[in-house]
Amino acid sequence: MSAILPLRLQGVSFAAGGRMIIPPLDLTLEAGASTIILGANGAGKSVLMRLMHGLLAPSTGRVVWSTDGPRRRQAMVFQRPVMLRRSALANVVYALDAAGVPVGQQARLAREALQEVGLSHVAGRAARVLSGGEQQRLALARAWALHPEVLFLDEPTANLDPGATREIEAIIKAFDVAGTKIVMSTHNLGQARRLGDEVIFLHQGRVAERAPIDRFFPQPASPEAAAFVKGELPWD
């Protein structure tokens, strides 16, 4: 199976409701580095991620993966986890089934995924009665089971308390170590520093700056990014 990365966005733009949200841009994502997407609210982070993942179709341009791999080679975790009204285990099994994994292997792979994120003890519990942090971990388990090459995360810890946030970050790190490329948007600068290798800073839909993490922090090169970093909440 050949890799689906690098991902190339060629002349990709997105307009909706008469507004140009992302003017045409060119962007390449390579394997390896964890990419953090930063930007103010409304800068277009969510839209950009969805364009990359294929949930939105670009108004112009093309989103090109290196091989036309089946969709399961990527996964996405959203800010609010969406679970089916079934058990935690059944939710993971559902994702495996949708990806075409043979029925005989589904339960085993699902249990392994739950174990990886530390949710084995709630495998049989209804997913929707789990806490926010547990549901987000379940979302990650669901993604883990698919062994994706790319994992998109759209502000995954924005709604969680610090304890749950730390648990999620640990799992994301585990993905990274296992070889999955991380593409994550966040407001949390500390989190960006902890998990990222490079930063893409979006300002009004444009890539204002792209730099390795150690060059971006403590002082970004572009004025927009500098203003942003200064205005953000203190590091935690």
Partner: protein, 231 residues
Amino acid sequence: MLEAILGGLRLVATLDLRLWEIVGLSLAVSLSAVVFATLLGLPLGAAIAVGRFPGRQAVIVVLNALMGLPPVVVGLFVYLLLSRAGPLGELGLLFTPPAMVIAQTILIVPIIAALARQAVEDAWREYEEQLRSLGVDGLRGALTVLWDIRFSLLTAVLAGLGRASAEVGAVMIVGGNIDGVTRVMTTTIALETSKGDLPLALGLGIVLIAIVLALNAGAHLAKEAAQRRHG
């Protein structure tokens, strides 16, 4: 009026086998119609909710409007289909309970489909991104959502049941209100009213309402219990 009600209940309480046959037939006809209408209406509503095709808005408007189909018109339509002089006359279904089930099914499919469409569309907004991210789309996505919201769909099904058990126009025309064969609660009430036996008609009316109320209460309790289990 109170005397009429009490008189009616007394009559009903002393009534014989015939009343329970009528009640049994009413339930058999309406529940069968609800089952068929659910099997047809839920996927139909879900497909319209999730699908994107030209004329979709028009289809939704028409579907909603069909909720108000007059029962007597549906009855007439089915009668003309099943009459010996009509296209399906060979089947010999006119004036039998199956004809009544057919008419009531046609009557309530739009109700169940329209309400399901609304519920699925609302839920789809919540589920769409995640499901599409998993590669689930189209029919499979619609069915997944349908199953996931199955307890709220109960309301749509109960609405259909209510309509079916309450109507008299369709079953009267296609059933013929034949004593012992196609006489149901609503047609009996109509008959007794036209014979001037108002206390009996009122008593039967109360029995009918009580039964529908019991069915609704049962469904509600089932829904509550299930929601507590599944969240």
